[in-house]
Symmetry: C2
Subunit: 130 residues, 2 copies
DNA sequence: TTGACATATTCCCATATGAGCATGCATTAT
DNA sequence: ATAATGCATGCTCATATGGGAATATGTCAA
């Protein structure tokens, strides 16, 4: 029997979409490639990064399937694979109900305060709603 | 004049919500704390992590405002601050139009193929839509 | 005051990167 | 064939963590 994981000192990054997107430059690249495909040189120019850095970021994005590549002569045309961002969207969406809840409570409290003492600073006593 | 950034060898992590959420354990904690507040001990039990690890993850989440704390005696009650997740939701949402586009194109192609040769494997020649 | 509890911090270690530089690899031009 | 062009990789360095163990802090109980 072989131990595949002896000790994971630090969680593997760049192994999933969440990690790939955590890097600001990569988010920048994803936005840049969202509308239409571009060759690496264009990305280098657009981001101001040097070519190797761009290639490496593209490598990470490629591995997690956040971009698609297409070869054309000696160029490579990259493009954002928007579908791969959907899981992130859905994960964040699971919290939507909670922030809506928060907003509603804030609003209700504001209105209640308004009713008690119109145009006066709030004097928080206790909150019966909790 | 002072140089604030001498050399950033690696982009600062745990400095924004994107990075905080990139860590699986922290996502797990956020979900756990989304519904209602819990004390650290409960999080430790729920996640199976040891207490210091949990405290450290909570520290990161606290710094980027993804959780709120409330002291109660010798306990600390944590709770997810869902509102802080909204920016992530909105970022991912900017890509929604693109993945919808993709889905539509896939669907159209499928229907077009269906019309040409009902129930036959697709023979991709060229794509006039691009 | 002395302890027991609940958490947060600090230290040390192994590992993962990101950036910069140099180099390897195709593919096209001459 | 040879050079030039466009990218991908490899290597080194500095730094950021995450996990685990030990320790510090703060609060309530006896």
């Amino acid at each position: 029997m072989s131990m595949h994981y002896v000790s994971v000192a630090r969680a593997r990054t760049t192994s999933d979409a969440f990690n790939a997107v955590a890097e600001p430059r990569r988010r920048q690249i994803l936005l840049y490639l969202a509308h239409d495909e571009r060759q690496v040189g264009e990305i280098v120019e657009a981001t101001g990064l040097n070519q190797p850095s761009v290639s490496k970021h593209l490598g990470v994005l490629r591995r997690v399937n956040l971009v698609r590549v297409r070869r054309n002569g000696r160029h490579r045309l990259y493009r954002t694979n928007a579908a791969a961002i959907r899981p992130l969207h859905e994960w964040t969406q699971t919290f939507e109900q909670y922030w809506r809840h928060q907003l509603i409570r804030v609003k209700e409290r504001a209105e209640a305060a308004m009713k008690r003492e119109p145009s006066a600073s709030d004097s928080p006593r206790f909150d019966p709603s909790r």
